[in-house]
Each structure stands twice: as C-alpha cells, then as structure tokens.
C-alpha cells in the first residue's frame, strides 16, 4: 500500500505557522498518526478531514497563544487597528463590503429560520397534515375534499389518529354586535379545536351535538379579536344572540387570544367559528348529498411513527378504491398531503430559498473580493514583512499578527453587518407585504445570530490566512530580492479576470431583472383599468338570508343605497356595478350554439358576468362601441338582453357583427337565451396585473333583469373623503332598509391601486438591492485586479514613461485592460439575462423580456461603473514617476 499523504495545503499552512524548531516534529507526529488511522481502516476522506481539523486546531493554538503567551494579543489588536487606520480607504471598502455581505446573510437567515425552523404553534405540529384534492384533468390544483369521501377515509385509513374537516374561505354577514359587518368565518368539525390545541377563554367549545344536521339550536364561537373589536370585550357575550346571514345564532364561547387559526395560512384571521353543519343553512350548499362536492379541507394527525410517505401511500390506495367505487364523483382525483408548515409558508419557502442562495453568493463574492484586496495590500507589505522575518521575527508571530488583522476586520464587518441586519429585520417586521402568518416572529437571535457569528469568525480567519499565505510564501531572501513585484504569475491574473467576468455577468443579469421589474412597475402605474378611476370609491354588499331570496328586496336595497349615496354632499353620483373585483367571480358559460358545445366542449366560452344600471358605462368612462346601452325598458317582462366586452365579441364572433346574436347561459339555474344588444370597451375588473384568466371576456346584464346577491356600488366623489367616515354614512343609509346588512370594503380606487402595486414594488426593490450589491462587488473586483496589476507593472510603466509614453497613454492602457474584462463579462451576462428574463416573463407587465431600453441602460451603467472602477488604478499608474519606479529594487 502506498503510504498515505497528508493534504498538501494543510501541511503548507502548518509549515508557515509553526515555529521552525517544532515544525518538523509536529508535521512528523501528525503524519505518523495519519498512517496509524489509515492502517486501522479509516477511509481516505475521513482521515483527510481529521488531518484538516487537527491542522486548523494547531494553527489556531499557535496563532493565538503563539510561541509566547496571551500577553501579545492586545498589542496585536492595537497594531491591527493602527494598520487599518493607516489605510482608511482599504478599511472602509473592505469592512463595508464585509458588513453588507454579513448583513444580507443575517437578514435572510433570520427570515429563513422563522420560515423553515421555528415550530408551528400547535401541539405535535410535526404530525399535522393538511389534505386536499388534486385533479389529474386540470391545470389548477387545490380542490377541497368531499365530506362523504372523507367519512370513508376516516373509517378505512391505517395512518391517522385524528381528523377534522373545515371550510374556511367564506365570509358571513354578522349583526347583533355593535354594527353589522361582513366577517371571515370558519366552519369546523368538533375535533378541529382539539387538533390545534385551541381553547375557549369563556363559555364552551363545540360538542358533537352542536355539529350535526338539525342541531337543537345554531351556535357560534367568537375569536378573541372579534370579541374585542365587534363586542367591545363584553364579558356577558356568552349566551348573546347574533344574526349570521340573517339567521339567529347563539354565541356559546370566546376563543383564547394568541392562537392563529388555519384560515390565516391563506386569508385573514377567522372572526367567527361555526359548526360544520351550519354550512347548508348559511351557505345553501348540501355537502352530504353530493359526493363530488369538494369544499372542505381536512386537517389530520398522523399516528405516532407514521411518516408522510407512508401516509401518502395509504391515501393513494384509498383514492384508487374510492375512484373505483364511486367513479362518477371521484375519477381523476387524488389526495394531496402537505405538512402544515408547508401549507402555511407555501408562498414563502421557494422565494426564501432563492434569497438564501443569493445571500450566500453575495457573501462568497464579498469574501473573494476582500481576500483579493488583502492580497494586494499584502504584496505592498511584503518588504516590510520580509525585513521583519530577516531580523528574526518568528513566522508564527507574523501569522498571528496577520490573522489578528483579518479577525479585527471581520469583526468590524460582522458587527456593522449585524446592526444593518437588525435594522432590516425591523423593516421586514413592518412589511405586511410579506404576508407571513401571525405567529411568525422575525428575531435576529438563536440559530440566525449564531450562524452569523460563525460566519464572521470564519470570514476573519479566512482573510487572515489568505494574507498570511500571500505574505509568507517563499523564504525571506526570495522576498527581499523580489520586492513588491514577486507575487503571482499570469495564472493568478487570469483567475481574477475570470472572477470579475463572472461578477459582471451576474450583475448584468440581476440589473436586467431589476430594470425589467421597475419598468413593468412603471408601466403598471401608467395603466388604467379601462374605466375612469378618478375620485372613484367602491363599496360592497352581500345580500344573504331568506329575506333576499326573492329579487325584489335585493333590488330595493340596491336602489335605496344608490339613491341615498347620491344624496350625500360629497358624492357626485352613484351607480350600480356588480360584482367587481375581490373575486365575486360570477362565472358563466356561454353556449353560442348548443350542438357545437356538445360536440366540442373545449369551445365553450367562460366569461364573467356583471350587472349594471343603464348609464353605468358612461359614468365609468367606458366606451359603447356598437349597439345600445341598457334602458329602463329592459326589465323583467322584456326580452333578456346582454352587452358584451370587445374581447368577448372578437373571441366568439370573430369578424362578425355581434349585435342581434344570441347565446344561451344558465342564470338562476335555468338555461336561458340572451340577445346581444351592445359591445362595450374592455375593462379590467379584477386586476391591472397579469390576469391568469386570459382575455377580458365579460358579459353585462341589466340589474333590472337579474338582481344579484353580491354587488358593488361605485361612488364618484366630489372631493377626497375619508373612507371610514364615508362607510359610516353609507351604513346609516342601509340601516333604514335593513339594520342587519353590513356595508363593507369601502375604499377608493387609488387605494386599491396602491395595494395592488405594493407587491410588484416589493419584488422590484428586492431584486434591485441584489443587483446593487452585485454591481458594487463587480466594481470592487475590477478595482482590485487593476490596482494589483498596476502595482505589479510599476517598473514597466516607469520604463514606458521614461521612453516617452504620455500620461494619457498609460491611463488608457490600464483602462483598456479593465474594460476588456468587463465587456467580456457583460457579454456573458447579456446571454444569461436573455435567458433569465424569459423566466420573468410571467410577472412582467407591458414590457418585453428583451426590452432594448432596459438592456441598453444596464450596459451603459455597467460600463460606466467599470470605467469608474478602472480610473483609480489608472490615476495611480499615471502618477508613477519613471525615476522612482526604476530605482525600486
């Protein structure tokens, strides 16, 4: 067997650090032990790792306590600080870069710790799993589960301890509190609270008897927040009667504060908990009669010892047998099991992982760049150090000094970086945009702070060792002879050039990303909805309960509100316009030719249906392109008429005149014929942003022919008005007609637009931050490599100058070197950016992924930065005096 060799680099390191009299013996001892280990059968990798650990431990011991004792450490720190003060530009740049690198990492680590590591605030949360349905025939997933199916799952599975169903995406009208409100509700099984460890502070929780069809009396439990906000923390609220969607319920309990409900994983926090079995009464759905009715989510607790893979396998088998037994309802559906943490952070984990990788990359680039700077600085100090060595300074002592310098620099960067991160965490906590669940706590402590500390120390050590290796390579006599120029060969320069190229390329890609996002954000700001949003406020109503089962009371309320609103002094005009935004999606399928629909179901047209008054289009500033507006003659007794959007007309009747064409659609459960009487310009009712639902296929129907339950009222204001005072005035109007009806979500279109923009602003800001970091690092890299080259070539520059080269020529040659590398990097970046921008395509708005302006601007910025970074070393080259350069030897 060939005798094992210790890792060369570790041996070199030890050679430099150990005092000469013990060096050989210690290296020999380590090698001997390595051989013993290998002959005892330790693997190559493990024994090499062992050697490294020992080498680093010994280096650390000698570097810190050295051949002398601890007394020198304080003076080393003082010397280091003096050295750093002597070269303030180096210190500021290096410590600043380190601070940014450490700061970004600490910040992202804090976020990642909260999202990946912190336990969820539920008992045995690691065993909790959410179950919903995937459907193989659909691009959109995340169907709910069916009640009837889950009853069989509960009976037949072999992996679950407990299960609870809930339906948490509905709002209900609540009255009987201080003022009627539309509140977020959660319909839950009686096991729900026990599974999540939620308890009542007052009253009692649901019992099995409350949770069955036709329970003795309908009951409800308030969340702590709702109890405070809606009932003024009334201590006697238990036993109190409230109206929900117009039906009487009794409050039987109030939850304890501080527990986050599952509804908040995707939506807002629950205000009111209702028994699952009030779904038919309150929402009009009959889940127990239709196996294909998938509305619920299941929260399950796995049996101890059962892992997710086993549970998934069991559910796979269950879905297969359910699909065989009840083919019609279950064909194509499979169960999707997600750990609760994943469900809570589904929108956060992937971006956080990307940010984490980005932060690591930044730190890596920072380290490489600062090491570069230190090496350059070390070359400048080679003579000083060589002199000290020649005068008898122990290498260990010198290494200790250099290591201390690295550690001091690292410590400055680490402390400043942590302060930056602390400030950033404060900022993140205030950003509701992150939409983190309420229990998430962003704190710069625990694992994040520990890791930051470790990173900082490792960074400092790496910096110190790098400059030690840079300074101490070779014997003192080599060093003295070689002066400041003997340092590294062409391969070193090539390595650094490659580094700069990749930094430039990365900066290019990130800058293009940021540029495109900013551009798309600006386009978005200039984009309208296709209707006039100036001084427009929208208000919502949802007419629930028996009294609104007929159309006429619905119409009466709507008309009373419109008339009442118009009488308010601040309101110029009010009009009905329903439903708009906020996902009251009234989807209709238009059948333009029934035979064709049967034959080609994929040709059916899905449109969203809105209800308007005569004159609404004009008041919204929408253009009637063809035909006529609705008129008061279009009422219940007359022909059913519709106005369609421009896009829909083009989609369904391309190149034809749609006026007078007919289509059929279900309305109120009956398939009815409708006649198109007009075409109106497109309006973006949902969002100005990328619309996943494709083109604006809208049909408008007169409110006089069908009064919807969900409706929007538009108010054109005379002046800016406070939304909450307006809401109070509107509530007063509605109170006259129906004291239990909430008027909700009163907000100006300006506000809604700002909310909508906030998300794209946030992502633009984050990408821009990373792009700025990458740019700064490239500048630093270019500066470093050129400064180094200039120092290396001092003699050549001196000779050139002595031979008559002008200052301009000298500077040009330095800048040319820098620009060549930068342009090459930018070229690579261009290709990368074209590829990356394509990925961004989906979130861009109104800007092409290859937008020439953005690419041009990025190129210009990068080159300008490159020139700026080149100019300092170029100036230094220009200042080289031929006589001094030649004398340097």
């Amino acid at each position: 067997m060939k005798p094992p060799r210790p890792p060369r680099l570790a041996e070199i390191l030890l050679t430099h650090v150990l005092p000469s009299e013990s060096r050989e013996a210690i290296l020999g001892d380590l090698r001997e032990e390595l051989i013993v280990r290998r002959t005892r059968g330790t693997g190559v990798f493990r024994s090499t790792a062992w050697y490294w650990v020992q080498a680093m431990a010994i280096v650390g011991r000698y570097a810190v306590t050295g051949a002398t004792d601890w007394n020198g450490f304080g003076s080393d720190v003082r010397v280091s600080l003096r050295q750093l003060r002597r070269d303030p530009s180096f210190t500021v740049v290096a410590a600043g870069a380190l601070a940014l690198g450490v700061g970004v990492n600490a910040l992202i680590l804090t976020l990642a710790a909260a999202i990946f590591l912190d336990p969820l605030p539920y008992p045995e949360a690691e065993r909790l799993v959410l179950v919903d349905n995937d459907f193989s025939g659909s691009a959109t997933n995340g169907f709910g589960v069916s009640l009837l199916n889950m009853q069989e799952v509960e009976a037949r599975n072999r992996v679950l301890d407990e299960m609870a169903l809930f339906l948490d995406w509905q709002d209900v009208n609540l009255s009987g509190s201080e003022a009627p409100e539309r509140v977020p509700a959660n319909f839950v099984d009686h096991g729900y609270f026990r599974l999540l460890g939620m308890e009542v502070a007052r009253g009692r929780t649901f019992m099995r008897d409350d949770n069955r069809r036709g329970a003795a009396r309908p009951v409800a439990i308030l969340s702590h927040g709702a109890w405070v906000r809606l009932f003024g923390s009334n201590p006697d609220v238990v036993g109190h009667a409230v109206q929900l969607n117009g039906q009487p319920f009794e409050v039987i309990g109030v939850m304890r504060p501080g527990k986050v409900d599952l509804r908040s994983r995707a939506l807002d926090d629950t205000d009111i908990f209702l028994p699952l079995w009030s779904v038919p009464d309150l929402l009009g759905y009959e889940p127990a009669e239709d196996r294909g009715f998938r509305m619920f989510t299941a929260i399950v607790k796995l049996r101890p010892g059962v892992d997710l893979a086993e549970a998934r396998a069991d559910f796979r088998a269950l879905s297969t047998s359910l699909a065989t037994e009840y083919a019609e309802a279950n064909q194509g559906y499979t169960y999707n099991l997600r750990p609760l943490g994943e469900a809570f952070f589904q929108n956060h984990r992937a971006p956080t992982a990307v940010l984490l990788v980005g932060a690591g990359l930044v730190l890596l680039l920072v380290t490489v760049n600062v090491v570069n700077l230190m090496l350059i600085r070390a070359t400048g100090r080679t003579r000083e150090i060589a002199m000290r060595r020649a005068l008898g300074a122990r290498p260990g002592r010198l290494v200790r000094q250099l290591l201390t310098e690295g550690l001091v620099l690292g410590a400055i960067g680490g402390v400043v970086g942590t302060v930056i991160a602390g400030w950033g965490v404060g900022l993140l906590t205030n950003l509701e945009l992150l939409e983190l669940p309420g229990f998430t706590q962003l704190r710069l402590d625990g694992p994040a702070l520990l890791l930051t500390g470790v990173v900082t120390v490792a960074l400092g050590t790496a910096l110190g060792l790098a400059s030690a290796v840079g300074v101490l390579g070779g014997t003192p006599s080599d060093r003295l002879r070689g002066g400041g120029r003997h340092s590294e060969g062409r391969s070193g320069i090539r390595m650094r050039s490659l580094l700069i190229m990749s930094e430039m390329a990365l900066a290019f890609v990130l800058l293009v990303g940021a540029g495109l996002l900013v551009q798309s954000f600006r386009t978005l700001q200039d984009t309208g909805y296709g209707f006039d949003t100036a001084d427009l406020v929208t208000v919502h109503l949802n007419l629930r309960g028996e009294r609104y089962d007929e159309e006429s009371p619905r119409r009466a309320v709507a008309e009373a509100l419109v008339a009442g609103a118009e009488s308010l002094p601040d309101v110029e005009e009010a009009f009905l316009w329903s439903p708009n935004r906020l996902g009251h999606g009234n989807w209709v399928e238009l059948l333009t030719d029934e035979a064709r629909y049967e034959a080609f179901p994929e040709e059916r047209v899905e449109a969203s249906r809105h209800h308007v008054y005569p004159g609404t289009f004009q008041r919204l500033g929408m253009e009637l392109i063809r035909g006529r507006d609705f008129a008061s003659a279009d009422d219940e007794g007359s022909r059913q008429v519709a106005i369609v959007s421009e896009s829909l007309a083009e989609w369904v009747w391309p190149g034809e005149d749609p006026i007078g064409r007919r289509y059929e659609a279900y309305e109120d459960g009956i398939l009815q014929p409708f006649e198109v009487v007009g075409v109106v310009s497109d309006a973006r009712h949902r969002t100005r942003l990328f619309d996943p639902f494709g083109p604006q296929l809208d049909v408008y129907r007169p409110y006089s022919q069908l009064a919807e339950r969900a409706l929007t009222i538009g108010l054109r204001m005379r002046a800016d008005v406070d939304a909450s005072s307006l809401a109070a005035q509107l509530r007063a109007i509605v109170r006259n007609t129906d004291a239990d009806l909430p008027v909700y979500d009163v907000a100006s279109m300006d506000q809604r637009m700002r909310d909508e923009e906030a998300r794209s602003r946030l992502s633009a800001v984050i990408v821009a931050l990373y792009a700025g970091l990458a740019l700064a690092l490239s500048a630093l890299g270019i500066y470093g490599v050129l400064a180094h080259a200039v120092r290396r070539q001092t003699r050549e520059i001196g000779i050139k100058k002595a031979l008559g080269a002008s200052v301009g020529e000298v500077m040009r040659s330095v800048i040319r070197h820098g620009l060549t590398v930068s342009v090459a990097g930018a070229a690579v970046g261009l290709i990368g950016a074209l590829a990356a921008a394509r990925l961004l395509g989906a979130v861009l708005y109104g800007v092409a992924p290859w937008d020439v302006t953005v690419f041009g601007a990025v190129t210009a910025v990068l080159l300008a930065v490159a020139v700026a970074a080149c100019s300092l070393p170029a100036l230094r080259a220009a200042r080289v005096s031929p006589t001094e350069a030649l004398r340097e030897d």
């Binding site: 013990s22 050989e24 020999g28 090698r31 010994i58």
Partner: protein, 110 residues
C-alpha cells in the same frame, strides 16, 4: 522570571507524562499517555504549545532523532525532564500537599 518553578495544571500533566514515558517521550506518546491516565481528551495543539513553553522555561530538554520513512522523512523530537523540571514537579506537589494539610478528611469524603 518570577513564575519560575510554578507549573500550571496542564503543564504539570505534561511534565508527569514525560517522566512516566521516559526514553520514548515524543508528541504522540505524550498526548496518548495523558489521555490514557486522566481519561480526558487532549488537543494536540495544547500539548505542542505547552511542550514548547516548558522547553523555553528550561524545564524540559529536547533533541531531534533521525527521520523515519513512516513519518514522511520527518524527524522526531524527543523530550526529557531537566533537573529544574524535576524541581518544579516537586515544588508543585509540595504546594499541593501544603494546601491540603488539615483538610485531608474533608477531601477524602467527597
């Protein structure tokens, strides 16, 4: 040197190990001896740094022995105790005994 003759706890352990091993006392053996006798794990760097210090204090003497192939051609440094070193060990023991006098019973108990 005002502290001459005074040994720290770890220094004492290293000195005693060198005495116990005798002729064959070099880095690897010394560390093993301390680990074997005290049952505690000892960092190599600590041993080497301490050996260097004890040599500088004149308590240990060392010499290089011929290189062997299994050590990659590296020489071994052997250590032996100087007279001053033995004095230091005796001094440390005497100090310990002095400090223990009168409280032996108490120390035995625990």
């Amino acid at each position: 040197m005002g502290r001459k003759g005074f040994l720290g706890e770890f220094e004492l352990l290293v000195m005693l190990a060198v005495v116990r091993i005798g002729k064959d006392a070099y880095g690897v053996r010394i560390r093993e001896e301390i680990e074997r006798q005290t049952g505690r794990s000892v960092a190599r760097g600590a041993v080497y740094v301490t050996l260097d210090r004890l040599v500088r204090k004149g308590l240990l003497a060392s010499h290089l022995a011929g290189p062997t192939p299994e050590r990659g051609g590296k020489a071994k440094r052997f250590y032996r105790v100087e007279a001053a070193g033995l004095d230091a060990i005796r001094h440390s023991r005497a100090m310990l005994r002095q400090m223990e006098r009168g409280i032996e019973a108490l120390l035995e108990e625990s």
